[in-house]
């Protein structure tokens, strides 16, 4: 018996045959058995302690590395870091804010996280000056093709010109179970609006419009079968409601 084999036993790195030999040894050597037991307990404790992190959705500044892009489009160190710290400030505002009274009713798991995810994505990307979207409205067909392919179903940005908002473009974001699309719009004053389109809803129910106030961001959201939609902006509720109605009307006409 040697020390290295005892560790290998703990870490499952022994052959079947050798494992059986160590088993037999430990049955007759209480002190070594106690150590092995302690080491196994440490392994379990470490995995339990840190399991959650691997299961968390990636923060945007890390998730963006997963979108296959030509290298020149990846943000470089200082810019990425500044955007990330801006995002963290925005997140701090969101997390510190109490939910408005309208949103006190408990909602199903997939439902409750949709406005929060959309609001976070809004806070992260809408302040961006240099690169708020990945593909711009000037290449709308390319945007539509790319997003539709990646989220697995046709998706087209609604037209909101009559209500004063023009499309800036769109990007792909990591959702809990797969990619989600985000379209960004702006009005003449520079106010930005984002539409978050997720195809990962598994609760298979429809909901009427719901309103959530996530800090400084108002969100109207609804679920339509597999799809979850959320419209986010820092504008007053009534104006957002009219925009949400327009979005809903156009999207339900899509095949």
């Amino acid at each position: 018996m040697n020390e290295a084999d005892l560790h290998a036993y703990v870490d499952g790195q022994l052959s079947e045959e050798r494992r059986a030999e160590v088993d037999a040894w430990l049955a007759g050597h209480a002190e070594d058995a106690a150590r092995v037991h302690a080491y196994l307990a440490q392994n379990h404790a470490l995995r339990r302690r840190y399991a959650g992190i691997a299961a968390e959705p990636l923060p945007p500044r890390l998730a963006q590395w997963l979108t296959p892009r030509p290298r020149r489009w990846l943000p470089f160190s200082s810019l990425g870091r500044i955007a990330a710290s801006m995002a963290l400030v925005g997140l701090g505002v969101l997390i510190g804010w109490q939910l408005a009274p309208e949103h006190t009713s408990p909602a199903p798991e997939s439902d409750a996280s949709l406005p929060r995810q959309a609001a976070v994505a809004h806070v992260v990307y809408s302040p961006d000056v240099r690169r708020p979207v990945e593909i711009g409205a000037d290449q709308e067909e390319q945007l539509v093709t790319w997003l539709s392919k990646r989220i697995g179903t046709p998706v087209r940005p609604p037209r909101l010109g009559e209500l004063g908002f023009e499309l800036i473009g769109g990007r792909l974001l990591p959702g809990a179970q797969g990619p989600v699309a985000q379209f960004m719009y702006h009005d003449a004053s520079g106010q930005r609006l984002t539409l978050y389109v997720s195809t990962e809803n598994t609760a298979n129910q429809e909901t009427a419009f719901r309103f959530a106030q996530e800090g400084p961001v108002n969100v109207y959201y609804w679920i339509d079968g597999r799809f979850g939609y959320a419209l986010s902006a820092g504008i007053e509720k009534e104006r957002l409601a009219r925009l949400a109605a327009a979005v809903h009307a156009q999207l339900t006409q899509q095949p």
């Binding site: 040697n2 560790h7 470490l46 890390l62 870091r81």
Partner: protein, 169 residues
């Protein structure tokens, strides 16, 4: 050439390892981001049939060493560094430490790295040796010391450390 799908598989465990190694969430994510940036810069050097996870862990390790060297006076040999990241709580020597985080933080960095790569990330000893660019024997001795030290920290009473490798007949 880094395949995005392969990166997506590896990225969560890279993040988890960084968090356990560094302790503070934002600093850990900074380390991951720095690792990804360096990986992209050197992406041409990565062979498609190579082990992406090991390669990324190795880049992270190098960055970590560089960062630690900058923070410490040069007279200390790197192996003797007992790093206490400021964000972790200080614990008095000799007290029973029931808190796993605190016990981990009290390990010298090079022992903590080996323990986490083995126990948390499930790397084989030979892989750890490659990632950290040390002989397998050194992996085993650091692993052994880390485990005994952790065992002492987490137990109800003081346990004398017996970290040396020995052959038992």
């Amino acid at each position: 050439m880094i395949e995005p799908r392969a990166l997506a598989t590896v990225l969560p465990s890279l993040r988890r390892y960084a968090r356990a190694l560094v302790g503070e969430p934002a600093a850990a994510d900074d380390l991951v981001q720095d690792t990804l940036e360096r990986a992209w810069t050197n992406a041409g050097r990565f062979r498609p049939d190579g082990d992406l996870r090991a390669w990324l862990f190795s880049i992270m390790h190098n960055l970590r060493i560089d960062g630690l060297r900058r923070a410490q006076p040069e007279t200390l040999p790197i192996e003797e560094l007992v790093t206490e990241p400021p964000q972790r709580a200080e614990q008095e020597d000799g007290l029973a430490l029931r808190d796993l985080d605190a016990a981990l933080a009290c390990l010298p960095e090079e022992q903590r790295a080996v323990l986490l790569l083995v126990a948390l990330e499930g790397l084989r000893y030979e892989e750890v040796a490659q990632v950290l660019r040390i002989p397998v024997g050194t992996v085993m001795s650091r692993l052994s010391r880390a485990r005994e030290r952790l065992r002492a920290s987490l137990s109800e009473q003081d346990t004398p450390l017996s970290p040396t490798l020995r052959i038992v007949k």
